[in-house]
């Protein structure tokens, strides 16, 4: 059963410009869906991304920043930047520096990259919902 019939949604974000909704959705995982009235899916997305991010940090993963001579680091940076405030908060707290010698370093990176990319996918979903391409 769909979580709500289309007409029942209380979409707070319908009054906000698309860019603002997408910006908020990027900053806080799940917030975009919450603003659009997807009250059941929003917390699930938030928890999944938060758990993936936290596990990545706990596994000594690295919040990769662009490095000269390493083109792939730019892609990785784009992915981890997708974590929004989680990325900024972790950087401010000195987390996510990455311990290359740790056995779980690559696992941590995988979780951090995945969390960011999942949030970026949510931005596309928010876009589709606001523009009417997706009605649930």
């Amino acid at each position: 059963m769909p979580e709500r019939a289309p007409g029942e949604r209380k979409a707070v974000a319908t009054t906000l410009p698309l860019q603002v909704v997408i910006l908020l959705a990027w900053l806080v995982p799940g917030l975009g869906h919450l603003l659009l009235g997807r009250t059941r899916r929003a917390p699930v997305f938030a928890v999944v991304i938060l758990v993936a991010f936290a596990v990545g940090i706990l596994l000594n993963g690295e919040l990769i920043v662009p490095k000269d001579g390493d083109p792939l680091s730019y892609l990785a940076f784009a992915a981890v930047l997708g974590n929004g405030v989680l990325f900024v908060a972790a950087k401010l707290l000195g987390l996510g520096a990455g311990v290359v010698t740790s056995a779980s370093y690559e696992f941590g990176n995988t979780f951090l990259l995945t969390a960011g990319m999942m949030n970026l996918l949510l931005l596309l979903d928010v876009h589709d919902i606001v523009t009417g391409k997706k009605d649930w």
């Binding site: 059963m1 899916r41 997305f45 056995a103 995945t114």
Partner: protein
């Protein structure tokens, strides 16, 4: 908790839950999709692992 399999399973669970909720609206469809994605990731990784078995890194 730090072994390869547990972490891989956790990763698969998170991804399967995420995509089930992203792409499926119906509760029954979500469950089916979850198990499909979770199974594909877990069994696929094991299968690839066995395929790589004859080719050690050293």
């Amino acid at each position: 908790m730090l072994d390869h399999f547990s972490l891989m399973a956790l990763h698969a669970v998170l991804i399967a839950v995420f995509f089930a909720f992203l792409w499926k609206a119906d509760r029954r469809e979500r469950w089916r999709y979850f198990w499909k994605v979770f199974g594909a990731l877990l069994l696929g990784a094991i299968a690839v692992g066995w395929l790589m078995y004859p080719f050690p890194r050293t």
